[in-house]
């Protein structure tokens, strides 16, 4: 009886004869569809708010802004599916690009310098992979350490200097377009790589082994999956691709500073998790991740057109990250609570929380009035 009355509230198309669990699975299956609907919504809202939104030139330019995030997201999907995480990606891209910039400043040929940058980034991935697969440290701690370590090395290389004056053959990587079309070179590279990564994840033994590790590492080990080797490989891959993304960013800016890409790991992880890749591993698809990248990209572009500061934009991205994990879990909890016994307590808690946060928001707004008066008179 209770399940019949509750299932419509879920909003999922569930049949009441089945347990509520079924409807949750339906909901998760439709995660990609949900993303698609959201994308359409964002496009509709934004094109109403700003006439510049649906401009081919603009869209082409803004898409190249997201290619570094997209590139780093590809190996991140692999890593998160195995139940691990790599917090060092953005620092790694800073380190590799700074090394390339340092060599370029010393007069080394740009392609040689770029190759050295790629090598250093891969080495960073090797360090992560070694500590995680051989020393068996949790990826979270290791990459938190290398997050600081790599960024520190980037600062050590360049200090407060910047590297610039890259030859146009190199900046083509970040600024150029394919032939006469509007497709940026970096976007073409991303699309090619995304197809390869997607095929590897969904159509090969290696891909299935990634899911196996994420679902149950011990079971995977007993069925002969070379766990250490695979973990090592994906972290090295992540290092290599992050370094490449660093080069793309440097080419796009036409310069390198040691703080290039600071904080991008948040965007990369958000794109991954919002795309339906389970942070605990074992679930997720490549096309879901790509759809969420598109969604984040369009959202940021729309907010940029509305003159919203980039730091405030990252507030929205942070909220998205939390909501994308929070909501499915809450849905699950509502679906599982069959009795109405907890209702009063839950209601009280929810009310209490609302009152506290309302008070906070009220104080936030009240104390901000003089701030605004100072600025706008």
């Amino acid at each position: 009886m209770t399940s019949q009355t509750e299932s419509p509230k879920l909003g999922a198309s569930s049949i009441s004869e089945h347990a509520p669990r079924r409807s949750l699975i339906d909901l998760l299956k439709n995660w990609e569809l949900l993303l698609f609907v959201l994308i359409v919504g964002v496009v509709l809202v934004n094109s109403n708010l700003s006439p510049y939104f649906l401009n081919a030139q603009n869209l082409s330019r803004t898409s190249s802004d997201f290619m570094e995030i997209g590139l780093m997201m590809l190996p991140m999907v692999f890593i998160v599916i195995t139940g691990n995480i790599d917090l060092s990606v953005a620092s790694n891209m800073g380190m590799s690009a700074s090394f390339m910039g340092l060599l370029h400043n010393m007069g080394v040929n740009i392609w040689l310098a770029a190759l050295a940058g790629l090598a250093l980034g891969t080495l960073g991935g090797v360090l992560n992979g070694y500590l995680i697969s051989k020393v068996k440290l949790p990826s979270l701690v290791v990459t938190l350490g290398t997050y600081a370590f790599f960024r520190g090395i980037a600062y050590g290389f360049l200090g407060d200097q910047a590297a610039r004056n890259y030859p146009s053959a190199f900046t083509f990587l970040g600024q150029g377009r394919v032939g006469d079309s509007l497709i940026p070179v970096s976007a073409a590279i991303f699309i090619g790589m995304a197809i390869i990564f997607g095929l590897v994840l969904h159509c090969t033994k290696f891909g299935r082994q990634l899911y196996a590790i994420g679902n149950n590492e011990n079971a995977a080990r007993y069925s002969g999956v070379p766990i250490g080797k695979i973990k090592f490989l994906i972290f090295v891959l992540s290092g290599l691709i992050s370094a490449f993304a660093g080069l793309v960013l440097a080419a796009r800016f036409g310069s390198t500073r040691p703080d290039n890409g600071t904080g991008l790991e948040l965007a990369v992880i958000t794109a991954t998790v919002l795309g339906g890749v389970d942070i605990n591993g074992g679930k997720g698809t490549m096309y879901g991740a790509i759809l969420s990248l598109l969604l984040i990209g369009l959202l940021r572009f729309g907010m940029g057109l509305l003159n919203i500061q980039s730091q405030v934009q990252s507030t929205v991205i942070g909220l998205l990250l939390i909501i994308s994990i929070f909501l499915p879990h809450i849905g699950q909890q509502i679906a599982q609570s069959k009795t109405s016994r907890f209702r009063w307590k839950t209601l009280l808690i929810v009310l209490g929380v609302l009152v506290i946060f309302a008070a906070f928001i009220a104080f936030f707004i009240w104390s901000r009035i003089p701030v605004l008066q100072d600025i706008y008179g």
Partner: protein, 338 residues
């Protein structure tokens, strides 16, 4: 990850008590030795290192770090992490700063209480996401790290609070002296002692260890892990709120980049000090030594004129070295007990 590691965590596992005790002491002795070597090496090159002014400077610089590291320690003990402490400090500092600018007549105690309350609310937001939403702490606080930092910009619209806009009373809060010791250092020591006593002698403190070493077992023992975890994040918010007020007081300003990247320092201090990221293991004296080591390294790098740009790299390397040593030590213990 395995049961063996859980057993290692709890000091009450009986058999290995004396040996584990020795190892954990050994670690603190190790940090002290490292600090001493560093101090001797730096003093040989730059004798002014041991000046009382320089030593006070080091302590002043690590006071806020010590305070927030206490919060971070409690969080890491429950197998979590709070990356949002730096953004909580930034946001609370900004809100308190502007409130004080608009109402300079408010007494100091008011700004302290305001800081604590605001910190508690921001911390409870973390707690709700982590316990009710079942979001992993690292993801939740990575999210709030950028949410709160974004709110700082939204709140101030890019403006900041200067020294002359703050009332005199708040500035003396950290610089006044008690028996010749600056208040800030006194507060840091007080918080450290309180946290030490809290973790060691109160029921809640013991429960924090219990939840961290084995959540399932602690649940059977009648502890509600979710409740403990929630409390820990609120405590972390409260302490960060206090740190925010002290930050304004010490640096006489509130900026959009206040405490940017500070979360890493607190994690480093805790991890170097022997707090295990797999939960349940760690002591306050160790964390104090970890913070001291960080302070000495920062100070000596400046004194012997190594570019401050290498400091971050040194810090990252220290985290890695600390966790690798921990792992090697615990591996050896497992081997000797088999």
């Amino acid at each position: 990850m395995t049961n063996q590691e859980f057993k290692l965590g709890s000091k009450t596992s009986g058999k290995g008590f004396s040996f584990l005790d020795f190892i954990s002491r050994f670690r603190e002795v190790g940090i002290i030795a490292f600090i001493l070597i560093l101090v001797i090496a730096v003093t040989l090159r730059e004798p002014s290192f041991l000046d009382i002014d320089n030593l006070t400077d080091i302590l002043m610089n690590i006071s806020i770090l010590i305070i927030v590291a206490m919060a971070q320690t409690m969080v890491i003990l429950t197998k979590g992490i709070d990356l949002s402490v730096s953004s909580i400090i930034g946001l609370v500092a900004m809100m308190v700063g502007f409130t004080l600018k608009a109402n300079p007549e408010f007494p100091v105690i008011f700004s302290v209480v305001l800081g604590l309350v605001l910190g508690a609310i921001l911390g409870s937001f973390n707690g709700f996401i982590i316990t009710i939403g079942n979001v992993p702490p690292i993801i939740a606080t990575l999210g709030t790290l950028s949410i709160y930092r974004g709110l700082v910009f939204f709140y101030s619209q890019g403006t900041w609070i200067n020294s002359y806009e703050l009332p005199h009373s708040i500035k003396v809060l950290s610089k006044g002296k008690l028996l010749g010791v600056p208040n800030l250092i006194v507060v840091a020591i007080l918080i450290a002692v309180l946290t030490f006593l809290f973790l060691r002698y109160t029921r809640l403190g013991r429960n924090i260890y219990a939840v961290g070493s084995n959540p399932t077992a602690s649940e059977y023992a009648g502890i509600r892990p979710q409740k403990i975890i929630f409390i820990v994040y609120v405590l972390s918010g409260i302490i960060s709120g206090l740190a925010a007020v002290l930050w304004i007081s010490r640096f006489e300003s509130a900026q959009t980049n206040t405490a940017l990247g500070f979360e890493l320092n607190t994690v480093t201090a805790a991890v170097i000090g022997g707090v295990s990221t797999s939960g349940g293991v760690g002591s306050i004296p160790g964390v104090l030594l970890g913070a001291l080591l960080l302070g000495v390294i920062q100070n000596s790098l400046t004194l012997i004129r190594i570019s401050p740009f290498w400091q971050l790299a040194a810090q990252g390397l220290l985290i890695i070295v600390a966790v690798v040593t921990d792992k090697l030590i615990s591996k050896r213990i497992v081997r000797t007990h088999k």
